[in-house]
């Protein structure tokens, strides 16, 4: 919701998709787009900084640097000029995690470009989540998938790293592959889950469940009233 009016009435100058506007200070980029009458459909999703739909490129007047951000999470500034990158084209591997046999080698079948990283670090610099993307690519290449998982758990798949990669790879897709392979193929199956699955299969709880289901609504309510 556009709640910014009461709190901060100062207006600032921004440029959205190349057109100049005045918007209230304290608005996020998306709120500034609403304020100026844009119907935002591509480039919007959760509005909570996790879905990665609103990758955006911007500059501040007087500063040569090209910057990137998530539009739902970033406040506009005086002299800001921004455009959304609704969707960045990527190549996605076609695989089934269950049938991987040698995931560390198969990485180079699915993503051969992964090995061509030239260490420029642009991916890390652009990441709105602050992930060390360059390191995660190298860890994946060296087969340390656990490290990839630890480094990239907060990845929102916005694809900004792809937009800057001079080796033209998709680091976020490579990280997803490595995390999945680690979870499905390297980590041991959780013992507490195995034990409970066996109990359920063996019918350990069926009798008590059947008894609960045989009760009248009032009896059931009474039965469940206190914590066990």
């Amino acid at each position: 919701m556009d709640n910014s009016q009461n709190e901060r009435k100062t207006m600032i100058h921004v440029s959205i998709n190349g057109r100049e506007y005045e918007v209230p200070a304290g608005s996020t980029m998306v709120q500034a787009m609403w304020y100026t009458g844009h119907e935002v459909i591509h480039g919007i999703g959760c509005l909570g900084g996790v879905c990665g739909a609103c990758a955006t490129v911007y500059r501040i007047k007087g500063d040569f640097r090209l910057r990137n951000a998530l539009a739902c999470q970033t406040l506009v500034q005086e002299g800001m000029s921004f455009s959304m990158l609704d969707s960045y084209p990527i190549q996605r591997a076609h695989y089934d995690v269950a049938t991987l046999s040698d995931p560390k080698e198969e990485l180079f079948t699915f993503y051969p470009e992964s090995a061509t990283c030239r260490n420029c670090n642009a991916c890390t610099e652009v990441c709105p989540q602050g992930i060390d993307v360059r390191d995660s690519v190298w860890r994946a290449n060296f087969g340390d998938f656990k490290a990839v998982a630890d480094l990239t758990m907060s990845c929102v798949m916005c694809g900004l790293c792809v937009s800057r990669c001079i080796a033209e790879m998709a680091p976020h897709e490579i990280a997803l592959y490595a995390r999945r392979a680690y979870g499905a193929k390297e980590l041991p199956f959780p013992a507490n889950l195995r034990a409970r699955l066996d109990e359920i299969k063996g019918g350990t709880f069926s009798r008590e469940m059947d008894r609960l289901l045989s009760l009248s609504p009032d009896e059931l309510k009474k039965e469940c009233e206190v914590k066990s």
Partner: protein
């Protein structure tokens, strides 16, 4: 900007650690009745038309259900459908994706149509976890009892027993897809505590649980033999022989054209209604949560259950105001976070059920003990610093990195200062009535996920909605594949929108020809009205 935050936090009271008074069952009931929005008379309307006529619901829900179609005129269909499929799934969140994967595994031809991109949903935003009874001394039976008590005994026991018994099997499925849940040093799935439960039972991926689930399952559904149509919300269902569902009309948001889909079975996985902002509440929901499935199915005569029951999650951010509605997971309270009013006093046990905690916050604010914000709202302090004090420095940063990241972006460091919170519209407890296989009261129309009702009763426990998506998404997918195989062939000529014509006639009669608002609205409109 930073000045505003600094001056806000300069006025904090000393926090008094004295535990809040406990609540007797009677006091709890009185608190709910006095302050919880579901039980308050203001902002309500009685449904006048359709299967749920006579039910008192929030005005916005009555407007949604008693609305006219976006499709006007004769509603004639084209000579041929644009697609002819076995299973049409409407909605690309957790339930829709799970249903698509399971239906296609059965060999059904599946079309998944969704409003935004696949995965844009409330699922991706889920922070806290999935409830699954894996602990020693815990059991599916205890999970049943806690959920039934938390739902005020209004839960459908048949649905609930399926949820708790099949839940661990779905967790196994998720682990096998490579989803990385937090582990303890022995490699077990870590179990956290949520409100209203007798045992720690939440499995999570830090506070990125939904993101981790969607990243993986989205990749799977994109790689599965499933046709996906993004930016194509359904705006009307189609009716076939015997009143059974026979497909849907999609609206292509880019070409601005209708797309007609003939389907042997339709699964509605359209999610909730947060973006209707019931009672003016901010919401934690994603941009497309406008209750589309409810209104389309209601026009077809589908029954709704508990559609007067909503979850106002106690802890939505209320300051800085550009973050209004954003959720702070209940897991922080499970980990020991505390709440204080303007006087610095604790006022409720932080691990009461969500409706009780939300009511207590509303009580504090409406009785003048709320903390005023610069924009004229009011809230209470949610202090995470107590987590680090009890569990060791760095615990918040390690377990809740997303919250720290999001708040810090807005100059609030939650490891140092408390977050100001107020209840936020979070979840639709009720929805389309369903049996354990996802059937609504309309033949060949199934439902899964938040759009369905009955499972949670009138208050949902944390972690049960994610579990529901997988348990009942799978069941709906399998059942839809089966129902499609078994359905007698029918021709496109037998398909129509006659039910929409009929419903609009009922509306015209009941409302004496007054113009009704159009739905589904698909999105909220936050554009400045005076521009």
């Amino acid at each position: 900007m930073s000045d505003l935050v600094d001056s806000f936090y300069a006025k904090m009271p000393e926090f008094d650690e004295t535990p809040p008074p406990g609540l007797s069952p009677e006091a709890r009931a009185t608190l709910l009745k006095s302050f919880y929005p579901d039980y308050r008379p203001e902002g309500k309307a009685t449904i006048r038309v359709g299967p749920n006529a006579g039910t008192v619901v929030p005005e916005e829900i009555a407007t949604l259900l008693e609305s006219r179609s976006r499709i006007e005129g004769t509603r004639a269909l084209p000579d041929h459908p644009d697609r002819d499929v076995d299973v049409l799934i409407v909605g690309g969140g957790g339930a829709g994706i799970t249903a698509a994967l399971h239906a296609s595994e059965q060999g059904a031809g599946v079309l998944l149509a969704t409003k935004l991109r696949v995965g844009d949903s409330n699922t991706v935003m889920a922070e806290g976890g999935i409830q699954s009874a894996l602990g020693e001394g815990d059991s599916p039976v205890d999970h049943f009892r806690d959920t039934f008590r938390g739902g005020h005994g209004a839960n459908d026991p048949a649905l609930l027993s399926v949820l708790v018994q099949e839940g661990p099997g779905m967790v196994e499925w998720l682990v096998s897809r490579g989803i990385l849940f937090d582990r303890d040093p022995q490699g077990n799935l870590s179990l956290r505590k949520g409100g209203g439960t007798s045992r720690p039972r939440l499995i999570s991926a830090k506070d990125y649980t939904g993101l981790e689930l969607i990243r993986v399952l989205k990749e799977d559904v994109v790689n599965a033999p499933v046709e996906i149509l993004e930016f194509s919300p359904a705006v009307e269902l189609l009716q076939g022989p015997g009143g059974a569902c026979a497909g849907a009309v999609l609206w292509d948001l880019d070409s601005r054209k209708y797309l007609y889909v003939k389907a042997k079975t339709v699964i509605l996985a359209t999610g909730g209604t947060g973006r209707l902002h019931l009672g003016g509440f901010a919401t934690s929901n994603h941009f497309g949560a406008t209750g589309d499935g409810l209104c389309m199915a209601y026009r077809m005569g589908a029954k709704l259950v508990h559609i007067d029951s909503f979850q106002y999650h106690p802890t939505g951010v209320i300051f800085p105001s550009e973050m209004a509605g954003m959720l702070i997971t209940e897991a922080v309270r499970g980990a020991g976070a505390r709440m204080y009013n303007r006087l610095g006093k604790r006022f409720v046990n932080e691990l009461e059920t969500r409706d009780v905690v939300a009511s207590a916050i509303i009580r504090e604010c409406s009785e003048g003990r709320g903390v005023p914000t610069p924009s004229g709202a009011s809230g209470v302090y949610l202090d995470l610093a107590s987590i680090d004090r009890e569990a060791g420095e760095g615990t918040v940063a390690k377990r809740f990195p997303n919250i720290v990241k999001l708040m810090t972006r807005h100059q609030v460091d939650p490891t140092r200062v408390p977050i100001l919170v107020y209840p936020t519209l979070h979840y639709q407890n009720g929805g389309l009535q369903t049996d354990p296989n996802g059937h609504t009261s309309i033949p060949n129309l199934l439902v899964a996920g938040e759009a369905s009702g009955g499972l949670h009763g009138t208050n949902r426990l944390m972690g049960n909605s994610l579990l529901e998506l997988f348990v009942f998404g799978r069941r709906a997918g399998l059942e839809a594949a089966k129902a499609s195989r078994e359905r007698a062939p029918f021709s496109w000529k037998e398909v129509s929108m006659a039910h929409v014509d009929h419903f609009e006639q009922l509306l015209a009669r009941e409302f004496e020809g007054a113009d009704r608002p159009m739905a589904p609205t698909l999105f909220p409109d936050y554009r400045r009205k005076d521009s």
